[in-house]
């Protein structure tokens, strides 16, 4: 299907189903139940899942295929956001031109930064990209304030000179981003016997774009171009000896990957027309590295899983407070209950980054292939025990065609 192999088609279909049915999948608990706080099916969070999914897919194209570890990828995301917000301010509130421009801007910057950074490899490449990203961040914070609005962040105001469309709505409000009249923030809630599902326009736009981005990524993985990139990863020296110049290939994939980041930034601005310099900070670049590694670098579905995983836990884990813990462990005798809670306390709520850091370290140490490799190992172990186990078959779907 669509020129994909059998295995790839399965992965692709799984991603399509996951993306399109996310409002159901992420809301497994009835609204009134005590587990309702683990529901992640509200538009804002779902949008972030897919947007960071796109970001991580793009990062994985660079890191997973060529092994070049960029520590400054968030710069492209930030540039994309700024470009998109400027498009809203100057042209129209339609998201299409904004997203297109954000990709173009990010792509152009990627050409420049990539051209310089890719002259070196290994740790030097990481430092160079980091230096460029920090430069963009510092400049956005200080001198470029007329363009970026500094610390406050770039926002849409009531007196924007919009060429297509009015500066303000009829009742004096700030106009909303839309897709040919379909408002991004619009959503309908469907109540079905205790469950309520949110269907948001913005989410579905992001999801469709994510599916497209994923499809393009599969095609790149399987193309001769992708093979070339893998060759660069496994032995660049040998590639040179055979008379091939690796630089154009790495530059091409760096630009593609930067455009993915720009796309993610543009979408982020489309969902909430706001762009601030903190999106470009190196911790933001670190986050996408975490996502990709956690999910499984160099695999197709890994980055998407990693992005979803981190964003889910960031939002849900950080909501668990002592009250919730007390609710869970109420069945234990009092002394034991307090003891267990005292142990768990540093890891939840505000301390969730500690859990993330530990988890990340464990993954790097024991599972260099990330969650995907974990899934493969489990499925292999299950297959060995009972070959007809349906759980194993289901897990096998997640297996990347790597």
């Amino acid at each position: 299907m669509f020129g994909l192999g059998k295995k790839d088609t399965t992965v692709f279909v799984v991603v399509i189903i996951l993306a399109l049915c996310a409002p159901f999948i992420l809301n497994p608990f009835p609204t009134g139940s005590s587990l309702a706080q683990f529901n992640a099916g509200y538009p804002d969070l779902m949008q972030r899942f897919v947007i960071f999914g796109i970001f991580a897919i793009g990062f994985n194209l660079l890191f997973g295929l060529t092994g070049y570890l960029s520590f400054g990828h968030a710069a492209f995301l930030g540039m994309g956001s700024y470009a998109a917000v400027w498009m809203f301010k100057l042209l129209s509130m339609n998201v299409i031109p904004a997203i297109v421009l954000s990709m173009i801007v990010a792509g152009l910057f990627a050409v420049m930064i990539g051209y310089v950074s890719l002259r070196r490899s290994g740790i030097y490449f990481s430092i160079l990209t980091l230096a460029f990203a920090q430069m963009s961040y510092n400049l956005a914070y200080s001198v470029l304030t007329p363009i970026t609005n500094g610390e406050t962040g770039l926002q849409i105001t009531l007196d924007d000179p919009r060429i297509l469309g009015a500066s303000a709505t009829a009742d004096g409000g700030i106009p909303v981003t839309n897709l040919f009249g379909l408002e991004m923030r619009h959503f309908t809630t469907v109540d079905v016997a205790g469950w309520s599902f949110n269907f948001s326009v913005g989410y579905y736009l992001c999801a469709v774009i994510m599916i497209l981005a994923f499809y393009v990524a599969i095609r790149i993985f399987r193309s001769p171009f992708g093979m070339m990139l893998r060759a660069i990863k496994s032995n660049q020296q040998r590639l040179y000896y055979t008379g091939l110049n690796a630089r154009p290939y790495t530059l091409a994939v760096f630009v593609i990957s930067g455009m993915y980041a720009g796309l993610a930034g543009g979408l982020m601005a489309s969902m909430d027309p706001l762009a601030g310099p903190e999106r470009m900070q190196w911790t933001a670049s670190g986050e996408v590295v975490l996502m990709t590694i956690l999910g499984g670098a160099g695999t197709l579905i890994g980055p998407v899983l990693g992005a979803g995983f981190i964003k889910y836990f960031e939002n849900i884990f950080s909501k668990i407070n002592d009250g919730v813990l007390h609710g869970w462990f109420a069945f234990l005798p009092d002394g034991l209950e307090n003891f267990v809670i005292a142990i768990l306390h540093p890891f939840v709520g505000k301390g969730w980054h500690l859990t993330l850091g530990l988890m990340f370290m464990l993954v790097v140490i024991f599972l260099p292939g990330g969650l995907v490799e974990g899934g493969q190992r489990i499925s292999k172990a299950l297959k060995r025990n009972k070959p007809e186990d349906s759980g194993a078959a289901r897990k096998a779907n997640h297996e990347p065609a790597e």
């Binding site: 002259r119 490899s121 740790i123 510092n138 400049l139 301390g351 530990l358 370290m361 140490i365």
Partner: protein, 343 residues
């Protein structure tokens, strides 16, 4: 002229911090070949050693003071630190006042222990893995250390004052024949610079003039041969890791009065220190120190108003700009040896 001298002085204290962190990073890289992203966290832990010692020393108990009354006429309860009980009031106050310099003694064993545990427990397993994996695992470790500190000390900066003697500024200009109050420089920054110079000198002397240092240098040059000669080089490298951690920690301890310690100060310094290491030349100890001071001074020059008015924003990016230019024109950095991580 006075402005130039002032900027050089201003650059020295930041440059000292860069130089010390970069020195530790280079020690680790040169001996073990590991890129340690957790080094900034070690610097931060050093600063919190100062905070911790200050807290330990000010641990107090309440005593009813009959001579002072509150507004209702009841005797006032005052907190008396335990050190006052043990050493007398005057000596106790001095000890608390000098908590930051005392923290140097406290932090050395702590940092060496942390360094050795880190190397034996984690880094050891990453020698044979690619550099990317080392970066990633130490990056994760940095997050964990940072969050642990945040859990115990909170997210706000904790002011940690220097001893009273060093408060105030030193009028440097008078010494050189300028008008008074033109070049003034805080005493503590002078102390910091002197301290950094001392540490750098000590590390170099240790490597240059002791047998241990000689073996370590031999190991840096050719690990395998030294191992074949029957020397347990791994154990010495572990100790060097502890030493590098201690250098970062000491830089942090003394930096606490300049910049109130907070849990993410390490990350802020780490990025710059890496740039410093790369500019100085990966694996070159003198290069790291030189580049640290040069970049610190350059940064403070770039923040002069005269320069900012010509090139707005240059103060924000000068270090990165220099790094990019150096990396592209002189791949092995200022003083890097040929063949070390040159690709």
């Amino acid at each position: 002229m006075d402005a130039i001298i002032l900027q050089i002085l201003n650059g020295l204290d930041k440059g000292s911090a860069y130089a010390l962190i970069a020195l530790g990073l280079t020690l680790i890289f040169g001996t073990l070949g590991v890129v340690n992203f957790a080094h900034g966290a070690l610097f931060m832990i050093g600063a919190f050693c100062a905070v911790t010692l200050n807290r330990i020393l000010t641990l107090s108990h309440q005593v009813v003071d009959e001579s002072r009354k509150d507004f209702l006429g009841n005797p006032l309860k005052v907190d008396v630190p335990y050190v006052n009980d043990w050493f007398g009031e005057a000596a106790g106050a001095t000890i608390i006042d000098w908590s930051v310099p005392l923290a140097i003694l406290f932090s050395i064993p702590v940092m060496i222990a942390i360094g050795v545990i880190m190397e034996r427990g984690l880094i050891k397993h990453f020698y044979r893995r690619p550099h990317a994996d080392q970066i990633l695992v130490t990056f994760g470790l940095a997050i964990v250390l940072q969050e642990i500190i945040k859990y115990f000390y909170g997210a706000n900066p904790i002011p940690t004052p220097a001893p009273d003697v060093f408060r105030g500024s030193f009028d440097f200009g008078v010494l050189l024949g300028f008008d008074p109050n033109v070049i003034i420089y805080p005493y503590w920054r002078l102390v910091y610079f002197g301290f950094a110079a001392l540490i750098v000198g000590a590390v170099f002397a240790f490597l240059q003039f002791t047998t241990f240092g000689m073996v370590v240098r031999a190991g840096m040059a050719d690990r395998e041969t030294v191992g074949l000669l029957g020397i347990n080089i791994d154990r010495r490298f572990t100790i060097m890791f502890g030493l590098a951690a201690a250098v970062a920690g000491l830089a942090g301890v003394m930096y606490a009065p300049i910049n109130s310690p907070n849990y993410h100060m390490g990350m802020d310094f780490l990025v710059l220190s890496f740039v410093v290491v790369v500019v100085g030349g990966m694996g070159s100890l003198p290069g790291a120190v030189l580049a640290g001071f040069v970049l610190g001074v350059l940064e403070s020059f770039a923040s002069m108003n005269e320069i900012k008015s010509i090139l707005p924003g240059i103060d924000q990016i000068i270090i990165y700009l220099v790094a990019i230019i150096i990396l592209l024109t002189r791949p092995r950095g200022l003083m890097g040896r040929k063949g070390v991580m040159e690709d």
